[in-house]
């Protein structure tokens, strides 16, 4: 469990990136921080591994303040996935994956074994192990980035807009993979994105942020869609337009649902059970 209590981040020029922020991130679930630029979502994420230090407030992992931990050790104990994979261009794929293990002193042989297993885990061919990142596609680089983050088997995985720069087809593929990995490995995932669809797809808990990391709403995707807390949230998630604004249309064969663009999206069936998921 990760907990933010009254966390504030003010930069020397006086800008308040985060003001009095509270959040509980439950273990073994995916929490998505979603907001537009300037919402402080990346700042919040980077506070968890002390890449950004809070000006005041407390951040705890499993009840212990992270400010008592050595920042470098802390970072090695937390997986981090960056946009474009953030791979080291001068290291081969296998060496990128083993980065944390090697920093922690694992011998080369066992580290390489582990890296090859991880390539399997993230769905990459072992034959790519001795390539350089520039020889891989964007999607493959991103998978290597995930493998690297998983290498030391951390409990927590931080993902900083990881799929922002890949094309929509690859993005959909990587999103599905992320869901599969999270189910399989049961990591506590904290995911940052500006894409509401991505947030609703991946998040067990979604945190919608306004400017300055003000929490607009926290809840499951269903809770947020069914009951937007404010005008801001309704407009941000697009509840009133496009693919989410569904209306019923009666036809000779029953009732169908039509989206904001006038396209039929599905058929309304009568025995819909409220499962609250």
């Amino acid at each position: 469990m990760i907990e933010f209590r009254s966390v504030t981040k003010t930069y020397p020029d006086g800008t308040a990136a985060v003001a009095d922020f509270d959040l509980v991130i439950p273990p073994h679930r995916t929490t998505v921080l979603v907001g537009s630029s300037g919402s402080g979502k990346t700042t919040l994420l980077r506070m968890i591994n002390r890449m950004v230090e809070p000006t005041s407030g407390v951040i705890e992992i499993d009840g212990a303040s992270i400010l008592d931990r050595d920042p470098v050790k802390l970072r090695r104990s937390i997986g981090y996935v960056l946009q474009n994979g953030g791979l080291l261009p001068h290291h081969k794929v296998v060496d990128n994956v083993t980065t944390v293990l090697r920093l922690e002193g694992t011998p080369r042989g066992p580290a390489r074994e582990r890296a090859l297993e991880l390539l399997d885990t993230v769905g990459l061919d072992r034959g790519l192990a001795d390539r350089y990142p520039s020889q891989l596609s964007g999607g493959q680089q991103q998978r290597v980035g995930v493998a690297r983050a998983l290498a030391a088997d951390p409990n927590i995985l931080l993902m900083d807009e990881p799929f922002g720069a890949v094309d929509p087809i690859v993005r959909a593929e990587l999103q599905t993979e992320t869901i599969r990995l999270q189910r399989e490995l049961e990591k506590t995932v904290v995911f940052v994105t500006h894409d509401v669809d991505e947030a609703f797809l991946l998040g067990d808990q979604v945190v919608i942020l306004e400017k300055g990391a003000q929490v607009a709403q926290i809840g499951s995707p269903s809770e947020i869609l069914e009951n937007p807390a404010s005008e801001f949230v309704a407009s941000f998630i697009g509840a009133d337009r496009g693919a989410r604004a569904l209306r019923t249309k009666h036809t000779d064969h029953g009732t169908v649902l039509v989206d904001g663009r006038g396209r039929t999206q599905g058929v309304l069936v009568d025995d819909l059970v409220e499962d609250g998921a």
Binding site: V72, R75, Y80, L82, N84, L87, P89, Q135
Partner: protein, 213 residues
């Protein structure tokens, strides 16, 4: 041509001398420029200071430097140390700016990534920043090497024998072939050293040439 053929061992001996005198300044210049370049890259305050100092050093004429160094270092005016120190100063002056630029050329997102996965500052410098700055550092080293090799010929003016001997001797004795032989020999030495640096760079930085297959 006859002069060249008759004096091949003289040219050979001077070439070896010349190389020997140049290697140390190039190596020292490289080693000193790494911390100096880092200082210029890392802090705004030291950046101005370091770059101004190396800029000024480069403007000192070599003959003036030959006259200045002996009293400062307590060595003889005609000592080879005088030449080596002077060449080292010019090498540092060229290399420092290259190292500072090279470090600045490293993609900030890669540096962020290295921080995020748990590199400490010291390791990050040696294992991430410096290797990734490598291609630009190499470019600087090539300029430094060629410049040092050509500049070293002025050593003859303080009585230090190297390929510069062919210039002054040829001039005094009016042997055009000797002067030309000196020019060709200096260019060849510079080209060979440059080639060696390029090949070393390729061996050490195989990643810098690989592109998507």
């Amino acid at each position: 041509m006859t002069w060249v053929l008759d004096n091949l061992d003289l040219i050979g001996r001077l070439t070896v001398e010349h190389l020997r005198q140049c290697v140390l300044p190039i190596v020292l210049g490289f080693l000193v420029s790494i911390p100096a370049g880092w200082l210029a890259f890392r802090f705004r305050l030291t950046r101005g200071l370091v770059l101004t100092v190396v800029g000024l050093l480069y403007t000192i004429p070599s003959l003036a430097l030959f006259a200045l160094l002996p009293p400062l270092l307590g060595i003889s005016f005609l000592s080879e140390v005088n030449l080596v120190v002077a060449l080292t100063i010019y090498a540092v002056a060229i290399m420092t700016r290259f190292v500072a630029d090279a470090l600045a050329s490293v993609d900030p997102t890669v540096r962020q990534a290295a921080l995020a996965v748990g590199y400490g500052p010291w390791r990050r410098f040696w294992q991430v920043d410096l290797p990734l700055a490598g291609p630009v550092v190499l470019a600087g080293l090539r300029v430094t090497a060629v410049s040092t090799i050509s500049l070293a010929t002025v050593g003859i003016l303080i009585g230090i024998d190297n390929l510069g001997y062919l210039f002054t001797n040829g001039y005094q004795r009016q042997i055009v072939a000797e002067i030309l032989a000196g020019v060709v020999a200096v260019v060849l030495v510079a080209l060979v050293v440059d080639l060696l640096l390029v090949l070393t760079g390729r061996a050490l930085m195989p990643w810098s040439r690989k592109v998507r297959a």
